[in-house]
């Protein structure tokens, strides 16, 4: 035991405020800050603005004023809610714009909208290249699985199988995390504890 405390007890012997270095860990972050004149914007704000602008622009191009109205609503929700919720609600808006995807043009337009929504999704800091790469890869994999199974066995089966796969993957990652952090008692641990 040593008396090597870096702070001494206060006069009443109670809690000291923790010291901290506010060193923002942004090693792997793909966005920084941007300055326009005297104003500085966070990278997340810029990406969010780009995503909303993308949606408004292409909505106007593909669907006219009605499209702009939907895109502006999404923009307003983006301002007051978290990006991940916006993505969920925006697809309800897309359902209004594209009740059917029967043509190649409609499919392309939906994909273009998805790019804008991806930008909004990744505006939630901290934004990392690894997360973006994994999200896109996993989304493509899940989407492919869904449509392949839907083509063979119908949508209900496809959705059920997709949900099963996703929850299985999540559980495997959870168990891997517990084991890698040494939080799972092995048989050897149990024997040592008993002895």
């Amino acid at each position: 035991m040593s008396d090597s405390s870096t702070t001494q007890p206060s006069s009443n012997g109670r809690k000291q405020s923790p010291e901290s270095d506010e060193t923002q860990a942004t090693d792997d972050a793909i966005i920084g800050t941007f300055s326009v004149g005297n104003r500085t914007f966070g990278g997340d704000t810029v990406i969010k603005l780009l995503g909303v602008s993308w949606l408004i622009g292409f909505s106007w191009l593909f669907n006219g004023l009605f499209g702009i109205a939907i895109a502006v609503m999404i923009g307003v929700i983006t301002h007051i809610s978290r990006p991940v919720i916006v993505v969920g609600l925006a697809h309800a808006g897309l359902l209004v714009l594209y009740p059917e995807i029967s043509t190649l043009q409609a499919a392309v337009e939906v994909v273009v909208f998805e790019i804008g929504l991806l930008a909004i999704l990744f505006s939630d800091p901290p934004v990392e290249g690894l997360t973006v790469l994994l999200t896109v890869s996993l989304s493509v994999a899940f989407g492919t699985t869904l449509f392949v199974i839907a083509g063979q066995s119908g949508y209900w089966a496809a959705v059920a199988i997709l949900l099963f796969i996703i929850f299985l993957v999540a559980f495997v990652i959870h168990r891997y995390e517990r084991v890698s952090l040494g939080l799972v008692e092995t048989e050897t641990d149990l024997v040592e504890t008993e002895s």
Partner: protein
């Protein structure tokens, strides 16, 4: 890894979108579902990576300012959490649980929080332990949260330092016979100095010395008869019977238990230094609370010391709970297991485990006498040392009679009630008479074969009593005379 409410709500939105696909036919909503699920799984993978990095790079230190403290004093404990900036992507909350016996502190005063980006934090908590014993500070409890607030992980890990809390020791303790102080207690009379092999010294012959002890060569050389003494080589088995019944809790300031404990610790130290196998029996109001068989192993002496330091007067009367812990180790184990449990149930159960008295063997009639019976039936000890009060003299007399029934020598250390009364010595002559009465009782005990009885108490109070006795109608000489009878 546990999902937060935010994660659950996102999963809910994604599931609704996924289920909407077959309901509304168009697959546009399926894009939303796979995007949200893809993002969540990606976040989970990245979070695992950041948790691993954070745990491996973060250092938690818990440093009590001292390793030994006195019961009731505050021990500042410094807690420091450090990590490099590269591992600062998680919010890390470290809480230090206190030992079960420590005075409770609000959790927020024992918690250090490193937000995302923060690299170190330090605080000092004042830990106070009102009871003696070996206090192990439980492992720090960690809680990790990812930067998006999607997943958490919690576990206990890290240093678990120990602080030995000594009981408040009496400042001036008297151990002796008939008012005369014994220079060193715990050095039991191992048949004087005669049973060893190493010659020690010559001394003049005193009537009663065995003839085979006479050093004939020295006697021929010198004008008087001399006997040769030898260094004692003792490996006699000793049993320590320690009374911590409710009656030992009384005292004017410092309870009788503290004095008895001090003597007992001295005996343990002495036994350890000469390698005597030492056993231990602790006696509570309703039976035996601890039994340790005689052993000369280091771990055994340490255990006895720990039990002595932990000993508190047992509650008298009916138990406060109908639930009984059948073994003291069970209650200690339960307290250890619940050390990190901050739930209401855990707190209540821990308090119960800390405060309840567990008995190894319940003895309804006379627990001190029962302790001797237990020793007689389980060990073949050669010396029994009893530390108790003189409160119930009839019981004590019977106990000592039972203890001396074999070849066993008996040392008795008694705390006279008169030296521990809560009142001041206003009627000094009455007090002196009570002391004289005790002295008569002590001498009466020594009439049993192989019994030596000592008094233990506050030196100052005894000196006051004896000084008045010298001037008053009852003199100390009377007591001294009595002690030589």
């Amino acid at each position: 890894m546990e999902p937060t409410r935010r994660t659950v709500s996102i999963v809910g939105v994604a599931v609704i979108l996924a289920v909407s696909v077959p309901l509304f036919a168009p697959p546009v909503v399926s894009f939303g579902a796979v995007l949200l699920f893809g993002w969540l799984i990606a976040q989970q993978l990245v979070t695992v990576h950041t948790f691993q990095r954070s745990v491996s790079a973060t250092t938690v230190t818990v440093e009590p300012s001292v390793s030994t403290a006195t019961a009731g004093t505050e021990v500042p404990v410094t807690i420091r959490v450090e990590r490099p900036s590269t591992a600062a992507r998680t919010k890390t909350i470290v809480t230090i649980p206190l030992p079960p016996a420590a005075t409770s502190l609000p959790e927020d005063e024992r918690t250090l929080t490193l937000d995302v980006g923060s690299t170190h934090a330090t605080t000092v908590i004042p830990m106070s332990v009102p009871t003696a014993g070996r206090m192990q500070i439980p492992e720090p409890r960690w809680e990790l949260r990812d930067a998006h607030g999607l997943f958490t992980e919690s576990f206990s890990r890290g240093p678990s330092p120990t602080v030995t809390v000594d009981a408040e020791t009496p400042e001036a303790i008297h151990v002796g016979r008939g008012g005369s102080e014994l220079s060193a207690y715990g050095q039991h009379p191992a048949d004087g100095t005669g049973d060893g092999l190493t010659p020690a010294e010559l001394r003049e012959y005193i009537g009663g010395d065995p003839a085979d002890r006479i050093d004939w060569k020295a006697t021929a050389r010198l004008p008087d008869t001399y006997v040769r003494e030898f260094d004692p080589e003792s490996d006699r088995e000793i049993s320590l019977v320690f009374d911590h019944r409710s009656q030992t809790g009384t005292g004017n300031g410092t309870p009788q238990l503290a004095y008895l404990r001090e003597v007992a610790l001295g005996i343990v130290n002495n036994a350890e230094s000469v390698g005597d196998p030492l056993g231990f029996v602790a006696v509570g109001d309703d039976g035996l609370t601890t039994t340790i068989p005689p052993s000369s192993r280091q771990v055994s002496y340490t255990r006895i010391r720990e039990r002595l330091l932990e000993a508190q007067p047992t509650p008298a009367g009916e138990p406060t709970s109908t639930v009984e812990l059948t073994h003291p180790e069970a209650s200690r184990q339960l307290a250890r297991q619940l050390a990190n449990d901050e739930t209401r149930f855990g707190t209540i159960l821990r308090t119960f485990a800390d405060t309840t008295t567990a008995y190894i063997e319940r003895i309804e009639a006379d627990p001190l006498y029962g302790a001797i019976e237990y020793l007689t039936s389980t060990t073949a000890n050669q010396l029994t040392i009893i530390l108790t009060t003189d409160r119930d003299r009839t019981e004590l007399r019977e106990t000592i009679k039972a203890a001396t029934s074999g070849e066993t020598a008996v040392l008795v250390f008694l705390t006279p009630q008169v030296l521990f009364d809560n009142t001041e010595l206003t009627d000094i002559e009455a007090a002196y008479r009570r002391y004289h009465d005790f002295e008569t009782f002590r001498q009466d005990l020594e009439r049993h074969n192989g019994v030596v009885a000592y008094e233990v108490g506050p030196r100052e109070r005894l000196a006051t009593l004896l000084s008045v006795g010298q001037d008053g109608s009852v003199t100390q000489q009377a007591v001294q005379r009595g002690s030589h009878e």
